[in-house]
């Protein structure tokens, strides 16, 4: 039994089935992409129990009992894009889009788990995922603005 994007799902998998393949082939959540299958590219990154994780380096059986967030769960049920998705569009942070799901899941964990992020921190954090198209500038700008947004929100919640 796993919870995927808020929905409880039970399924069965051979022990050797990678979590990526379970998400894509069994659950038909094909937004999680497969690049290298050895942890290097980041295309398969999903958030498991709050932490960005490579789904290609986990067996589906190991996720039993976990809460998984994939790219499909970012937009609201009504189809309103997640703030970071809007910023990716605004900053032209994608071209072909292959890396984008992994970039978004990586960035959300990075920003939400850090108090304050410099541009340098964002570049280091986002080096966890590879993009063959954009040259990263747009990605760094989008993630920077998202980090600022969250900080402003926090400041106004406190104040």
């Amino acid at each position: 039994m796993v919870t995927v994007n808020g929905e409880q799902i039970s399924g069965s998998a051979e022990p050797r089935t990678l979590l990526t393949d379970f998400l894509r082939d069994e659950l038909r959540l094909t937004g999680t992409h497969v690049g290298c299958e050895h942890g290097v590219c980041g295309a398969c990154t999903v958030i498991i129990d709050g932490f960005a994780t490579r789904s290609c380096l986990m067996f589906a059986v190991q996720a039993d009992g976990s809460e998984i967030q994939t790219i499909e769960g970012l937009a609201s049920a009504e189809g309103e894009m997640h703030p970071l998705q809007k910023l990716f569009a605004k900053h032209r942070a994608l071209q072909c889009g292959f890396c984008t799901p992994g970039m978004l899941m990586t960035a959300i964990d990075l920003v939400q788990s850090s108090k304050k992020l410099s541009e340098e921190d964002i570049r280091i954090g986002m080096s966890a995922a590879l993009c063959r198209c954009t040259g990263y500038e747009g990605i760094v700008n989008a993630v920077s603005e998202y980090a600022e947004q969250l900080q402003d929100e926090e400041a106004s919640n406190v104040g």
């Binding site: 022990p15 393949d21 299958e37 942890g39 990154t45 380096l57 986990m58 788990s113 954090g125 080096s127």
Partner: protein, 291 residues
């Protein structure tokens, strides 16, 4: 590629895990974070017929202050170590080393026990444990033993763990008063394995003489390399420009790296000297800054 089939065992306690490995010794592997093992299985460079998953043993995940040392459970994630105040305050070199390991999503899952058992020559933790004279605790049905880092790492991807033993805990001596440390490395891209890296810790007396020095390198030998001769040249001195330049030269001469697709042997040797210089300088600055 996809892994070959295996049967999957899920122990809930250490004694259960120990029993399972004894029963299947030879064709069974433990899986910790899977961040080194699963890539090897995906490429079928590893095809264990039995996989014993340590992820549901809560007793293996902790960071404890035990007086002279801190004890870290083998299944403690790299990310938990990076965020631990105990580690940052009492073993700052381990904190520094952790920030150099891979990327955030890898550290979400990778464990200290996995990294040390895997003993990749370029990995940060083995060199750090060697520099700090840490102890590894291993268990099997035959009992428990404590292994010093100098006896633990013995060659490429090889340790003195027996086939039926599980690593349960790492015991890391606390940094002495008036000490400073630094882990410095060069890699092709932030998060990649180091081409060469140095773990350094120095202890100063009141006149800023170096009374203690611990130095080890990664990426430049079959395993982590303790730089004894370099330590001898620095111990008892203050870090003058001359001492620093001698240390750099001694470090360059002390290692015998192999070249590969990432860097030539000569470049790695040169980097060892440069990293030694930078790590020593930073460690001493940090020690002075604390006073």
């Amino acid at each position: 590629m996809k892994p070959a089939s295996f049967s999957y065992l899920l122990p809930k306690t250490v004694p259960e895990a120990v029993k399972m490995i004894a029963e299947h010794s030879g064709d069974a592997r433990f899986i910790a974070g899977g961040q080194s093992l699963v890539p090897m299985m995906n490429f079928r460079l590893a095809r264990p017929s039995v996989l014993i998953d340590l992820n549901r043993i809560p007793d293996l995940s902790y960071i404890k202050d035990r007086g002279d040392y801190i004890a870290v459970g083998a299944m403690t994630r790299e990310r938990m170590i990076e965020n631990s105040d105990i580690v940052r305050d009492m073993c700052p070199l381990v904190h520094d080393a952790t920030l150099n390991i891979a990327h955030l999503p890898i550290r979400s899952r990778g464990t200290i026990g996995g990294s040390i058992s895997n003993a990749d020559p370029a990995a940060e933790y083995p060199a750090t444990m060697l520099a700090l004279d840490a102890f590894m605790v291993a268990k099997s049905e035959r009992g428990e033993r404590e292994i010093g880092a100098a006896d633990f790492f013995d060659g490429v991807l090889s340790t003195s763990l027996e086939a039926d033993e599980i690593l349960t805990e790492v015991r890391i001596p606390k940094a002495p008063a008036n000490s400073g440390s630094a882990f410095i490395e060069i890699s092709r891209r932030q998060g990649d394995y180091a081409l060469a890296g140095i773990a350094a810790q120095v202890t100063l007396d009141d006149d800023e003489n170096i009374i203690g020095i611990q130095l080890a390198a990664c990426g430049v030998g079959p395993g982590p390399v303790r730089l004894n001769q370099v330590e001898d040249g620095v111990r008892g001195t203050t870090l003058t420009a001359e001492i620093l330049s001698n240390a750099k030269e001694a470090a360059t001469a002390a290692v015998d790296p192999e070249g590969d697709v990432h860097a030539t042997a000569a470049y790695r040797r040169k980097l060892t000297g440069v990293m030694t210089e930078r790590a020593l300088r930073k460690a001493v600055l940090r020690a002075v800054g604390k006073k």
